[in-house]
């Protein structure tokens, strides 16, 4: 199974099970979780089932294309099932079967792995899924996002696409993967790995990134009308009580930018261990403001997705009419 067949199979599998198939986000993210289709949609009571590929950037993981397993940009396949169905593990195992992997022939295990994103103020409990000792997926029940308790709970499945493909194609070197028949992963991505590793570790302009971080943080505040002062009990104070006056989606993009610039600065070795915590706290702070605003907006809009789920058949019937 080629790399692209793998993606197509997973998309088909989850589309058949009622997921919306959306596209990768068009800004630099460290994981599929950052995509607003996960991060924001996990907030509030509205049901949401979605699947998508997410090219994810981890500047510190860059190895100049020399390590057969580590990449500064890799691909996640992300699935969100909200509320998490009780049979979510079986659904996941069925998706492996759809990839031609017979779980009975392998050693598949669910190993405790709690997930926490200090920058996003989010955490969840779940597992890494191991197949024959290889971690191929992350499985998380979101408990909190942006400091807000999740209810209902979203179940998040994240497939590490390169790892799974290497497994399926039985190759040891990611660059040897067949992306499609006759075209290797390395032919497409190796140069990119070298360039971005060099950029992230050596060339990225530190003052520029420091400034970008500050300015996007400020932009985020402005878009949200977020006051610098906190209220009693550490509550966030907004200029306007009307959440619909705030531009929450552009503001969230600012959070993504800050997080990414922080990662680049981290890879450049420009942030000391002491400063790290402060930067993380700054991103967490604006992420929280975004989440609170988003929650308020959905409420103000009357939770549009809270209607009875429209099945494919009724939808077709309506169109026909």
């Amino acid at each position: 199974m080629t790399f692209q067949e793998l993606i197509l199979s997973l998309q088909k599998f989850w589309a058949d099970r009622g997921c919306l198939i959306v596209q990768p986000y068009n800004s630099e993210v460290g994981a599929g979780t950052f995509n607003p289709a996960t991060f924001l949609r996990a907030i509030g009571p509205e049901p949401w089932n979605v699947a998508y590929v997410e090219p994810s950037r981890r500047p510190t993981d860059g190895r100049y294309g020399e390590n057969p397993n580590r990449l500064q940009q890799f691909h996640q396949f992300q699935v969100i099932l909200k509320p998490s169905p009780l049979e979510i593990q079986e659904l996941y195992l069925d998706s492996l079967r759809a990839l031609g992997t017979d779980p009975n022939k392998h050693d598949i295990r669910f190993i405790e792995d709690d997930w926490e994103s200090p920058t996003l103020g989010a955490w969840g409990l779940g597992w890494q899924v191991w197949i024959d000792g290889l971690e191929i997926s992350q499985f998380t029940y979101f408990q909190q996002v942006g400091g807000i308790d999740c209810k209902p709970i979203s179940g998040e499945l994240t497939y590490g696409l390169e790892r799974i493909a290497m497994y399926l194609q039985d190759v040891d070197d990611v660059y040897e993967l067949e992306w499609s028949k006759g075209i290797k992963y390395g032919e497409i991505c190796k140069r990119q790995e070298w360039e971005w590793s060099t950029y992230n570790f050596e060339r990225a302009d530190v003052p520029l990134h420091l400034e970008l971080f500050d300015r996007y943080e400020e932009q985020c505040r402005v878009l949200l009308g977020l006051s610098k002062e906190k209220g009693k009990g550490n509550v966030l104070v907004f200029e306007s009580d009307d959440s619909l006056k705030r531009l929450v989606l552009p503001a969230y993009d600012c959070v993504i930018k800050c997080s990414h610039y922080f990662n680049v600065l981290d890879a450049r070795g420009a942030i000391s261990v002491t400063e790290r915590q402060r930067y993380i706290a700054r991103v967490r702070h604006i992420a929280r403001a975004v989440c609170e605003t988003y929650a308020a907006q959905r409420e103000a809009l009357g939770y549009p997705l809270l209607k009875a789920p429209v099945s494919a058949e009724t939808a077709t019937a309506e169109v026909a009419r």
Partner: protein, 691 residues
Amino acid sequence: MSSLLIEIGVEELPASFVARAMEQMPVLVKSALAAARLTHGEIEALGTPRRLALRVEGVAEAQPDLEEEVLGPPRAAAFEADGTPKQAAAGFAKKNGMDVSAVRIAKTDKGEYAALTRKEKGLPAREVLGKVVEAATKITFPKAMRWGQGDIAFGRPVHWIVALFGSDVIDASFANVRTGRRTLGHRFLAPGWIELAKADDYLEALRAAHVLPRTSERRAAMIEGLAASAKDNAAEVVPDDFLVEENLTLVEEPQIVCGHFEDRFLSLPDDVIVAVMRGHQRYFAARDVGGGKLLPRYFAVVNTALDPKTILRGNDRVLRARLSDARFFVEEDRKKTLADRLPKLDGIVFQTKLGTVGEKVRRVGKLAAALSGDAEAELLAQLCKADLVSLIVGEFPELQGVMGRWYAQKEGLSARHADVIRDHYLPKGASDVVPTDTLAAHIAVADRVDTLVGCVGVGIVPSGSADPFALRRAVLSVIRIALEGPIDVDARAVFLGAYGGFVSQGKTLAAEAETLSKLDELVRGRLKSYLGEKHGADVIEACLAAWSGGSIRDLVARVEALSAIRREAEFDSLTVAFKRAHNITKDVASSDAALRAELFDHDAERALARAFDGVKARIDEATGKGQYAEALRLVATELRGPIDTFFEQVFVMVDDAAVRANRLLLLARIAGTVSRIAHLHLLSGAASTTG
């Protein structure tokens, strides 16, 4: 009687959750059974990642009938004088569901009251066990989670609950799941529901379905499997209790596969290879039989092994990637020397008020140099922590020190200094050895003392179970290094030295006297518990009272001398004598006044003064040299007789003030001399009397 079975089927639980649930469930169920008035036999907790279960043997079929006396209003309120029941008696009867004719009068200590004997027929166990089943679900997890609609919290989502009493289902529900008799076997090897006819079928049915819910059985199967696989591969398993327990809670039925990696990775330090296999993959390392050399093999405990070849191909590949990563880290690390890394320590906060790790190691270096008189200690103490900012230690924190040593060897530091880098962390735990090298011991002490003084100086003092900087363990390590290692430690002096280090870096600590006094208390507390394993608490108290808080070895010399000599029979009377002397002289102001021989008016008194005169210098000399056994022996042999005679024959508190004061002074002098060694009056045993 029948057996009770409760099984909660869940999604894969973390290892620690299973262990915790297996501790809690028996307690919860035992108290619920008691509350339900059901007698029972043995309770056994069972658990795997996918199920938490409990078997109770011999649960009674029914509650015993209950007969209890219920007291109502006082007699006067309940009955007329002629015995006719009043309204209150009727109300009391009605409240208890009985007829007023059943109300009688009971005599109690507090007077006479209306009373009823309430009889309740014991209910069948089946009707009351529902509460017991519900009690079993009240486990508290370190981190509970919610799922689905998010209404319920448990360790992991709950899928089924079996509740069988004999062959009957006990109806109950939890987490939107109703109890039943269906359980699931192994997720892959025996998928599908299993109907249990009765509670006692449980273990057998699950064994057949590739699940060993009994931990001991699972452990035995794993250890047996490991031994067999090791034998097949002419290797030995490197024993690792952590891995045994960890793997035990990762599988429902352990299977062992033996994989391998390429010889080229053996150039990595053994510790790295073991850490990679252990930390990331939970593999057991393999070594050659007898020789102890690491082999390029590993043993993996897996949950399914229908196709070992496929499974091994995957595991081998993963390990190869992990080892490649480790090699990358090590190679990157080696591009910089340990000394090059030191500036990075300034980026790690040790404690907000105490500054960075960089500042800490500079203080420790200065202190270690002062303690050891070895100027090289100053840099070496800093190098000891340089590996904290290496990539490999970032990945495997447990390799701190070990990798520092390895890098030091590779960059050409002396073998001794390289060893110091590893060994200054000793002892790592209560059962670990202490450093044998003097330099390592000095740095080890300086490192801990710096932490102690700094933390105590900013108000971080261990209390109860809260000891975030493990200060108690740090004190214990210093004590053990002083006693089992190559150097003594003068606690007071090192604390003072470390305090000076903070001052010269401009750190603000609490006042010196206050800090030192808190530290002294901490040290004394640890000494008590450490020495208490071998010596009597009173002996330790007696010696601590005489000890200045300086040399640790000096204190222990006292304790050992006193412990040994007090076992001798004559010593008991000496203790009595010193208690008396202490009691009657405790209010005597210390005075340099000379004893006045002319005021002695009793032979026993003169004899005691003479004996004391004759031996005082020798006692002082032995005490001064720390020869406490010798000093105490002199007290016992030279003074015991005269003191005993003195107390038998001489009445101290005579009316003549001058004679009395002179007598008290004599006793005070003797007590003062001996109490430089130990405060004998604090010894227990002989009863205290006044003279």
